[in-house]
């Protein structure tokens, strides 16, 4: 009956119920999670979303929002008997406002399309999650996605000026506007950023844009000791330079990249640091020289500064291919995102390496050194139950240690179902309790992405 009603709302062609169709919406980008929904609904407008939620709320049917399904915490994995509400058809860019530096888009718009549209107007949308070529802005906002530019430019939250959200009972809410300053009432939009589809469904986003930096310079430094790389990062920040990129690879990753891409990285290096500075051409020149100097003073074995865009691309290749190089090695790749304060980064990397030895697991680590966001990447096989058990043990130790260092279990992937067991350990009772009260107030029937986050 629910299916018939859905068909009346969105049209027959937008309700998918065949076995084959349900199979292909039973996963997202997360390893080892799989569950078929009751059906999939392809929505085309806010009105569609509102009508679907009204119906689902009356019948108490779970609704799992989904964009392109690239999430890494299992946030869009269907729960049993749920309606998957897929937003990819809502992909229009509604307005680029160069006078107010904003862009209004529908939730299914691809991050890449937003970046391209901004660039076409001579502007810049900085958040660049790894999956930006296919991830949707709705998902980026719902998971408050990060990317490589976090240190200098911040994350998705810093670019959300307003949202159109459909609440669990079908009410359509507009929150935020084009004003840089607006202190009228609670900043409701912030409640939905990072809410992982548990409080409402975002259907439109008003984004903040900034002028495009005119120049960029790329450097690559090689280190014999991981602590030297970490010291370099601290010294650069202490020298009042905020680079737009500070990315590192550990020795396991370096060797995997070298096996795969053969770009001439030193196999005995313990760390590689990719650094970029952007902005006014004169400032960029000055900062690049200062960063190279700091790197050398802090024990870099070798520092290369790219002379032009082509050389920049060559230097950046190591970081760009890091994930691919790791992903090729094993059938199952589990990409984690434990994050610690920048100052604790070397400790965290050393700890991950000791855990890798302790459990006999292959873990490559790379990530965003500027903001302390690490990607310990487990290379394993989901069919090897014994090894997966070890992976779970190792992961728990890594998360616990990150929390001990004042860090977080997830820097940018979200909690979803993958991190759910670890959340109370980080937040504590009071915070989990508040989470539950907020959830109960906004979604009393518990239909919005149930079973996720907490």
């Amino acid at each position: 009956m629910a299916i018939e009603e859905l068909k009346r709302i969105v049209g027959d062609a937008n309700v998918l119920t065949k076995d084959e169709e349900l199979t292909v919406y039973s996963y997202d980008g997360t390893a080892m999670l799989n569950e078929r929904p009751l059906c999939v609904v392809m929505v085309e407008s806010t009105e569609h979303v509102a009508a679907v939620l009204r119906m689902a709320n009356q019948r108490k049917i779970a609704v799992v929002p989904r964009g392109s399904g690239t999430g890494l915490s299992g946030g869009s994995i269907p729960s049993k008997g749920s309606i998957v509400l897929c937003t990819v058809k809502m992909n229009r860019i509604l307005e680029v406002d160069a006078r107010n530096l904003t862009m209004r888009v529908e939730c299914g718009t691809l991050t890449q399309a937003i970046s391209d549209a901004a660039e076409k107007a001579g502007l810049f949308y900085p958040p660049d999650p790894g999956s930006m070529k296919i991830s949707t802005i709705g998902g980026n906002v719902a998971y408050n996605s990060g990317g490589l530019r976090g240190l200098k430019y911040g994350i998705t939250r810093n670019y959300v000026m307003g949202l159109k959200v459909v609440l669990a009972d079908g009410t359509v809410l507009d929150t935020g506007n084009k004003c840089v300053k607006d202190v009228a009432g609670y900043t409701m939009k912030d409640l939905f950023v990072g809410s992982e589809g548990t409080l409402g469904i975002i259907t439109e986003v008003l984004l903040r844009l900034i002028p495009k930096p005119r120049a960029k310079k790329t450097l690559l430094a090689t280190y014999g000791k991981m602590t030297d790389a970490a010291e370099t990062v601290s010294a650069i920040i202490a020298a009042k330079i905020i680079p737009c990129t500070l990315e590192f690879l550990d020795s396991v990753t370096i060797n995997c990249v070298e096996d795969y891409a053969k770009i001439g990285l030193p196999r005995d290096a313990e760390a590689i640091l990719l650094m970029e500075t952007d902005g006014h051409p004169a400032v960029v020149e000055e900062e690049a020289a200062a960063m190279a100097d700091i790197a050398r003073k802090n024990g870099a074995r070798d520092v290369r500064i790219a002379a032009d865009a082509i050389e920049s691309a060559t230097l950046a290749a190591a970081r760009r291919t890091a994930f691919s190089a790791l992903a090729r090695i094993a059938p199952t790749v589990i990409l984690e995102d434990a994050t610690v304060p920048r100052s604790e980064l070397a400790k965290m990397v050393a700890f991950i390496q000791s855990i890798s030895k302790k459990y006999g697991l292959k873990i490559g680590t790379f990530g965003h050194m500027g903001d302390g966001n690490l990607h310990p990447t487990f290379l394993t096989n989901e069919r090897n139950k014994e090894e997966i058990h070890k992976v779970e043990g190792a992961m728990k130790e890594i998360f616990d240690y990150a929390i001990d260092l004042g860090g977080t279990i997830t820097g940018e992937h979200g909690v979803g179902v993958a991190k759910k067991p670890f959340l109370p350990g980080q937040l504590g009772e009071a915070s989990i309790g508040l989470h539950k009260r907020v959830k109960a107030a906004l979604d009393p029937n518990g239909i919005l992405n149930p079973g996720k986050m907490f």
């Binding site: 076995d19 199979t23 997202d28 790749v333 096989n381």
Partner: protein
């Protein structure tokens, strides 16, 4: 062996090939069928999930599965985008083989087309040449003109009506009429190479084959073009006919004897992509395995080969300005060259070496044109959409000539251009332009 009793291809597959997909979704934006539908089932990730469900017995082979296997272009753009190195080409062929094995899509017209093309014509070169000869007669006797002029096609069944404009122009002379079995360069040969003439290319693009031989001779190669060569088998592999593909591979290995050659040259992207994987195809054939490995080591796309041997750069014509060269051209990348073989720079290097040629980059140059083997016959609607998109980009370059390296793309683009607002724009092979440049230099 009757297909129904054959074991399941997908279940027989090494499971790690299926498992290699980590469903990250990076393939989705590069997939033309996902781009057109925004449906996960029509994406590479979705198709792999279906194949895995089949291998796991969570799904059976159904008409829906068959539809997706047929809807997939096999353009392999997903393989270029895949961070995990999933061998989609193999999975796709297995998926299609599974559909054939279980006979879930068994319309009579489809079987007839498959039988005529795949089992008869493309397995028997003399028969294919006879068909080519008949097509040529149809065209030169004026019969085609009569048919087209008087709208006689209106009388034919709908599917044939749709196919008729796609019939390529057949050359009066086929490859073997233009190329001797062994041709020697001036001076002592530096290399001995084999030349694959292709099946459709053999009579539709025999002039491109002649140009290829000329270019090889100019670069000091002795060229061996065995008369006993067969179709490369790619069409069979792509359409789930593995046993036939193996038979054809063995026949080619015998005809060329790779042990006596430095390289085996192919100028068609689609064939090249398949020809480099004979060892995989014949891995369980003890008699041919070693020779197939030797074959794979030596199989080369012509552009790849020329850049490898540091090809002779054509000199500007002596009588300056008399014949200025090809002018403004744009390059459409055949899927099986850029995605299937990762050859992207070499054709451009060759084009840039040609005096009087200005290369204008084509937007979305690696996006499929919709030809995709027999896809323009099996999926005319989607194929038409892709062709339209491609022609739009070509128009915006303002190029006088379109360059591409695959017979299928050439026929597709020629058909599209002929029916467009700019019908005069020729579609040529980079090697033909190079051959012409060598000839001009001699003037």
């Amino acid at each position: 062996m009757s297909p129904a009793t054959q074991a399941s291809y997908l279940k027989g597959l090494d499971y790690s090939v299926l498992q290699q997909c980590m469903h990250c979704g990076m393939c989705l934006p590069t997939c033309p069928t996902y781009d057109a539908t925004l449906m996960e089932r029509s994406s590479p990730r979705g198709r792999i999930a279906l194949m895995r469900a089949l291998a796991d017995d969570r799904l059976g082979v159904s008409r829906e599965f068959a539809k997706e296997m047929s809807f997939c272009l096999g353009c392999l753009a997903c393989m270029t985008a895949c961070p995990a190195g999933v061998n989609y080409a193999e999975l796709f062929e297995m998926g299609r083989a599974e559909v054939e094995r279980t006979k879930v899509s068994d319309a009579l017209f489809r079987r007839l087309i498959r039988w005529t093309l795949i089992e008869m014509a493309f397995c028997h070169p003399p028969l294919l040449r006879l068909i080519g000869r008949l097509m040529w007669l149809y065209q030169v006797t004026g019969l085609q003109w009569v048919v087209r002029q008087f709208g006689l096609m209106a009388l034919a069944p709908k599917r044939f009506r749709e196919l008729e404009p796609l019939t390529p122009k057949v050359q009066a002379k086929f490859s073997f009429d233009l190329i001797r079995e062994t041709e020697r360069p001036q001076g002592p040969p530096k290399r001995r190479v084999g030349m694959i003439t292709g099946c459709v290319a053999d009579f539709v693009f025999s002039h491109v084959n002649r140009d290829t031989v000329d270019v090889l001779l100019e670069n000091g190669c002795e060229v061996f073009t065995p008369r006993g060569q067969a179709c490369c088998g790619s069409l069979h592999g792509h359409n789930g006919e593995w046993e036939m593909a193996k038979r054809l591979a063995r026949r080619n290995i015998d005809a060329f004897a790779p042990e006596k050659l430095d390289a085996i040259i192919i100028n068609a992207a689609g064939c090249g992509s398949h020809l480099k994987h004979y060892a995989h195809l014949l891995h369980d054939d003890p008699q041919y395995r070693a020779r197939a490995e030797d074959w794979d080591r030596k199989a080369r796309d012509i552009h790849e080969f020329l850049v490898e041997i540091d090809f002779k750069k054509p000199a500007p014509p002596a009588s300056c300005c008399a014949n200025g060269g090809p002018g403004r051209v744009t390059y459409h990348e055949a899927c099986h060259l850029c995605h299937g073989q990762k050859i992207t720079q070499q054709p451009r290097q060759i084009l840039r070496a040609i005096p009087g040629l200005e290369l204008v980059e084509l937007n979305e140059s690696t996006w499929c044109c919709g030809s995709a083997g027999v896809y323009n016959i099996t999926q005319p609607e989607m194929s038409g959409k892709l062709l339209k998109r491609k022609l739009g980009h070509i128009d915006r370059t303002g190029a006088e000539t379109v360059v591409t390296s695959n017979p299928g793309c050439t026929i597709q683009l020629e058909t599209g251009i002929a029916a467009s607002a700019h019908p005069g724009r020729p579609v040529v092979h980079p090697i033909s332009l190079l051959a012409q440049a060598y000839r001009r230099a001699r003037l």
